[in-house]
Each structure stands twice: as structure tokens, then as C-alpha cells.
Point group: C2
Chain length 427, copies 2
């Protein structure tokens, strides 16, 4: 299979979403490295049949802004993992329809893969199109596919179910709604334009046809590219800078933490495991805390994300430092202490989340928080030990409610002509 | 009261959301015309107390992208009407709490107006802040306040209730949920960054305190600035270019159509009336139509919005033109024909809508469509006659479900030191 270019290329989408004065350069670099895919990205929007023919005449000669961002679909890993989270995300799970078998699932993954490749390149999806994304560029669209535990039962593939896909333990803070969690198939869509992302979601949902039915669907968001003067770590709806300690693609152990090793020899080589949780924030309670109390709960300054042990946002957290009053600078139950790899035998995951806000609950509280998506080579050495620790000792946990949960085996990427999951479904 | 600068300035926000290569110029022009407000816009994000003091040190020296867009709060008209719709919008209605009287309502509008002015200038809201908007610029934030019919009963101001605020007629296509419509107070928030708009919504909702309680709240979106190569009329979730025939601020009759005349002599001078409807699109039925059928239903080409009578998007629709086969080029029940001012004795309104997508309904259909917001000097010469006509003869109406409705009296803008609605509440 084709090797997608390495870290250098994978960071390009991040750069293409940087403030505009840096974006022209990034766009050129993208075209230089991504070749035909980048060029195809200039044929924006897209629509089927007669609409596509007309649209081609109207295609803008050049995109320079948010629309120009292009992430390649084909490669060693799927997109939507190591590239930065976009401004808009949709998470969606499907259950296979009664009677849909391994063959039907394979046909669906083949359809979805072909369409995702077209959409991410800014091309028209084959067949009739809704036209919703016309005029806009691909806007860093990514589509990612995964398999839930139940998929293997329903397709007669239990013998190939990875042991890493064992059910997550029950945590004391969980208040899970199974109807909004789990599912046979999981799809993650992200883009920097909300009509581009909705378009992709709609096309993929319609292509499921009779083979699979939506089980749950959630919408999320992050900062719009260019809203800050320079690229910055995003904030969550508690106002906190969130993601500073995330593994970086340039880290020497990034691939080992996030992706299943090439030499694993099974169909998941190059893949990753996604833990997906709707975590509602109890914002009314949180906002009642003083700034000082909030910062103690997190262990970082709210203004700039610097650890309370000193320095700037990117200064490593010093868990041993004591303040002038003789107490720990980072409290014993501070979130950054309990979540730190040092506190969890090195366990770490790549969090790539979206904020969500679905209005108000009947009790008057905002129905808002984090669509937590965490990536790791093995959840038993990533999410599970960290969440066990957080569940017991994190001062932040009393301001959170975990409302849904899913764990998905996300296979490696595919080469042109192949489809995601082919090594499982035809292996 | 202060006169906000006229059309030339009001178009600035549109330009500041134009593709990036045009944005630097617009930003300078904005600073040139908006003076202190524009300069304050550079002090971005904002937070209360200690957080604000720290944030000031971290303030980026210059914003050049989406974040830099600034719309003045003070002026003859409220913001969020004649300026272009942003990428993110929140619509929110409140009911006054039991016991809250005219004095409490006045205090709330005073708080809200002061906070909206701060947030729109990119300053910190007074008092504790959540920090959600820190780092980002004002991102063309606007906040708009209006009064529903019931507000006047609850505040003893029935004698001042405008006759134009009479209940809208019942239309045959209506399937209205009163719990998601109407309301004593209406707030519209829009910004090009979703965290900036959520932040404003959250601050305003918290400031309602004991005086008013949320009745309903909806979230919507439009294209992200820069997703297209040049600024274009937006598309809706049917894929159709939507808003071509909207009155333009440069039109000689724009103010007369949209705003209550200065010489009306009452508290609504300079104000406008907003009709707000959640219009769900029956997308599964719509998508089953061929492209040709869709275009006949609308009366425009989907690819570029050109009327079926010929020309380009901006060519006036020729309702009298016949095709080669002897039939009308624009069908008798085409949406553009039935909605045209020529078909409604000149009645027109300014539509400034957001798309919405709230996942899937229990029946499997997408819960998506248009948060329709229409502005006019008098709904009896705007929305009402047009919707009466559409209700009877529009081929599009069988693909739409009107699920909620509200009509709000939106007063004129205010000068620094005043608040929106002061002439009503203290008149």
C-alpha cells in the first residue's frame, strides 16, 4: 500500500489553518508535497451530474483562505487523527441493518472510502449531489472510519476482534446513555467550514442506504482559523486552555503512543483506537468558583495556560515544586497532576476534541461541554489507566458528567483503489 | 443620541469578513472610521478581575484575520440587522420571571446593553468572566435585543405596544411549537468564531439572573469567512444559493423597507421588526427530486443561482419570459415568483438567516433547516403578505415545516451611556 508522507506533510493542514499571512506559503508547500491531491483541491465544492458540469465552469481560480486547506485521504494512517482538529466536527455512529452481513459492510466501506477521498480532495461525490458544499474549498475536511465491538459479532468476525477492544471499565463518574454511545460503525467528520462538514455528513449518511442506520450523532466546534492573532492551543467551554500536554507529531514516541505498530502483523497495523465520550460540563457550578480556585483545580493559570509551578504554557509541569507557603504548587488533586504521564506509568493519549453546545436542559443548565476524542495505540495503556486515576482523584471530575462512551478500532489508512477496513473484511 | 455612521461604515464588517487578501485593507478602513471602538477592538478577548489584568499582558499585538472584525454597538440602529450574518448565530428568548416588573426589565436591558458594547468592542465584560473568548478578537460579534408581544403585558406597557406587533396570522403550513417560539425578550448573538459567540451567549444568559429565564434557544451557522475564493451569497442546506434578492444597504429604499422611520415619533423610531422561524427542511424528500425539478421549484439554477429566465445570479428575474416550449421560464409556483416583490405589491424584507442542524429525529430524518430571521419596518407590509402568498402557492412549501415562530419589536440603537429600549422603559 502507498505510504503517506510522514510528519512533515502531516503538519501541513495545521499550517494551512494558521492566520492568513502564513497561509499562502503553506498552501504552496501543500501543493508541492501533496501533488495531484493538492491540485485537485482547487476544483472546489463539487456536485454530481449536470450540477458538476455547470459548477466546473464556475470554479474559482484560486482559494487562499480557510477553504484551501487539504488533507490527503490515502496514506498509512487515516486522516483526522494526527492532523489538528477543525473548527467543526460531527461524530456519528451507525448500526448495521438487520440482515446486513460482512459483504454488505465491505461494500459500504468501499463506497464510503471512495466518497471520502473525493470530498477531501474537493471533488464532487459520484452520483447526485446536494450541492451544499458548492463554491467552498475542501476546508481541511477529514473523514475517519472505525469499528465498534458489536461490529465483529454482526459480521461473523469475532475471531478477528482485537483484545484491545474489550469493553471499557465502569467508572464511578459515569452516567452513560448507551443509546448515545457504542455502535457498530463510527464516523468522524471535521472541516473548517460548517457547510462543508454538514455536506460530507449528509452524503455519507445517505450512502449508508439500507446497510446501516444512524445510532447517534453529535456536533462540535473549535476556534475558527484566524480568530486569534497566531495559532494557539484551543480553549474549552470552561475557558481553560486545553491540550497543551498533548503528544506532538514531532515527538520521537508519537507514533508508538498513537498508532498500532507496523510489525503487529494484523489488520490493525497503522491503525489507532478512539475513545469517544460526551462529557457535559457543569458550567454553573464551575463558574461559581473564584479564578484562584479554578486554577487550583486545573493546576494551570487560566489566562495563558502556564502551570502553577511556573513558566509559560509549554514549560513542563513541575509536580515536586512547593510554594512559599510550603504547600505543593500543583495541588494533590489538580487535574494536570492526576492526568500526567508521570502519574500513570507513562500512559498518554492524543486528545483531539470538539466543544459542544446543544442549548439548555430542562433544568435550565447549559447542555454543553466536550466531545472528548482520545487516540492511542492501545486503550489499556492510554485512556483506561488515566481515567481510572482521574475517576478516583481528580478535583475536576465533580464538574463533569460523562454522558456517553464509545470505543472504536480505527484501521490504518488505505491506498488509492483500496478501502478502509479492507484487510479486516477481505483478510 | 449619537448617530452611527451610515451605509459606508455599516458595510465594513462585510468587508472585514472578506477573503484574507482584502481583509488588511478593510481593517485599516474600519479603524479609520470607527475610531475608539475600532482601537478597543484590538484589546481582544477579555476577562474580569485578575484574569483581565493578566490577559492584558498576553494580548496579541495585532489581529489580521477573522478575529479582527468589529461591529460598533452604539448607533442609530442596533447591530445584527444590516450587517452580514456571521458564521455562527444563537437565537434565544427569555420570559420575565414572576414578579419581575418594568423596573427589573429596565435594569436588565441596561446591564445587557453595557455588556454587549464591551463584548462587541473586544473588551472584558465587567465582573467575573468565564475566559472562553480569551485570545480571540471580537470576530464581528453582534448582539441584538427585542421585545415580544407578551413583554408589554408583563411590564404594564400595553399602551405602548406597537400595532405592528399584532400576532402573526396562522398559515396552513404551520406546525408551531409555542414552547420554542414567542417569549417576552429576544436576543440574537452572532460572531465568526463559535467560542466568541458562545461566550457572549453565556455571559448574557448569566446576567439575566433572577429577572428572566431562558424560554428557548437555537444555534445556527453560515459559511466560514475565507471558505470561498471570493465573498458570495451563502447556500442553505438544500444546496441553494439563498439571499440573492435581499434588499442591499446601498438600495435607495433600504432604510424605508427595514427600519421604522425617524419621524414616526414613537419609541420604535430607528427600530425594526424581526420575524423568527425555525423552518425544518424535508431534506430526504427534497434530495429525491432531480436537479431539474429542484431548479423549477426554486426558479433559479442550483450551480450559480442564475434565474431560469437567464443571465447570472444578480440578473433581475424576468417573470414574463417564456421558454422555447411555450411555457413560462419561471414556473407559476416557483419560489422566486411567488416571493418576488412584484407578486406582493412591493412587499419585501431583509432575510438574515442561519442554517441549523441538530442531529437526527426519531424518524431518522435530519433535524436541519433554516433559522429564518426576517427584518422589516412593518411585518404587515413585509413577512405577512409574502408568507400568505407563499403559503398558498409556493412549490417549495411542501418541502418545509415551520416549527416555531416569534415576532419581536427591536428598538433602535442607543448612544454610549444609554441602553436599548430606554425610550420605551423610561418614556
Amino acid at each position: 500500500m502507498a505510504e503517506r508522507a510522514g510528519q512533515a506533510e502531516k503538519t501541513t493542514p495545521a499550517e494551512s489553518r494558521a492566520p492568513e499571512r502564513e497561509r499562502g506559503m503553506s498552501r504552496r508547500r501543500l501543493l508541492g508535497t501533496a501533488g495531484a491531491v493538492g491540485a485537485a483541491g482547487l476544483v472546489v465544492g463539487g456536485a454530481g451530474g449536470a450540477l458538476a458540469a455547470e459548477a466546473a465552469r464556475e470554479t474559482p481560480a484560486e482559494l487562499a483562505g480557510v477553504g484551501a486547506g487539504t488533507v490527503p485521504f490515502h496514506g498509512k494512517h487515516q486522516a483526522g487523527i494526527a492532523d489538528p482538529a477543525q473548527a467543526h466536527g460531527h461524530l456519528l455512529a451507525f448500526d448495521l441493518a438487520p440482515g446486513a452481513d460482512r459483504r454488505a459492510a465491505a461494500a459500504l466501506l468501499r463506497r464510503w472510502s471512495a466518497t471520502a477521498a473525493e470530498l477531501m480532495a474537493g471533488e464532487a461525490p459520484k452520483g447526485d449531489d446536494t450541492g451544499i458544499a458548492l463554491d467552498a474549498g475542501p476546508s481541511s475536511l477529514t473523514v475517519t472510519f472505525g469499528f465498534g465491538r458489536t461490529f465483529f459479532d454482526r459480521t461473523g468476525l469475532v475471531s478477528k476482534r482485537p483484545v484491545a477492544l474489550e469493553p471499557l471499565p465502569v467508572f464511578t463518574a459515569d452516567a452513560l446513555d448507551a443509546k448515545r454511545g457504542e455502535g457498530d460503525l463510527w464516523v468522524q467528520v471535521g472541516a473548517d467550514d460548517p457547510l462543508v462538514s454538514f455536506h460530507a455528513l449528509r452524503v455519507l449518511q445517505k450512502q449508508a442506504g439500507d446497510a446501516a442506520r444512524p445510532r447517534w450523532q453529535m456536533n462540535g466546534f473549535n476556534r475558527t482559523p484566524g480568530a486569534t492573532a497566531k495559532p494557539m492551543t484551543g480553549r474549552n467551554l470552561m475557558g481553560q486552555i486545553d491540550g497543551t500536554n498533548n503528544p506532538k507529531p514531532a515527538d520521537p514516541d508519537f507514533a508508538a503512543r498513537v498508532f498500532v505498530p507496523d510489525d503487529s502483523g494484523d489488520w490493525m497495523a497503522g491503525g489507532s483506537y478512539a475513545v469517544v465520550r460526551r462529557i457535559r460540563m457543569l458550567l454553573d457550578s464551575w463558574d461559581h468558583l473564584s479564578l484562584e480556585r479554578q486554577e487550583k483545580v486545573i493546576g494551570r493559570r487560566k489566562s495563558d495556560g502556564a502551570p502553577l509551578s511556573g513558566g509559560t504554557e509549554t514549560t513542563p509541569v513541575d509536580l515536586e515544586k512547593f510554594g512559599a507557603d510550603g504547600s505543593l504548587a500543583i495541588a494533590g488533586d489538580a487535574h494536570v497532576r492526576v492526568a500526567a504521564p508521570e502519574s500513570n506509568r507513562g500512559a498518554a493519549m492524543l486528545r483531539r476534541a470538539f466543544n459542544f453546545h446543544d442549548g439548555y436542559r430542562d433544568d435550565g443548565a447549559p447542555d454543553a461541554g466536550l466531545l472528548f476524542v482520545a487516540w492511542q495505540a492501545d486503550p489499556r495503556r492510554g485512556f483506561v489507566p488515566v481515567q481510572r486515576k482521574l475517576d478516583r482523584g481528580d478535583g475536576l471530575s465533580r464538574f463533569l458528567s460523562h454522558e456517553s462512551s464509545g470505543l472504536y478500532a480505527v484501521p490504518g489508512g488505505c491506498a488509492p483503489g483500496e478501502y478502509v477496513g479492507q484487510r479486516l473484511l477481505e483478510g
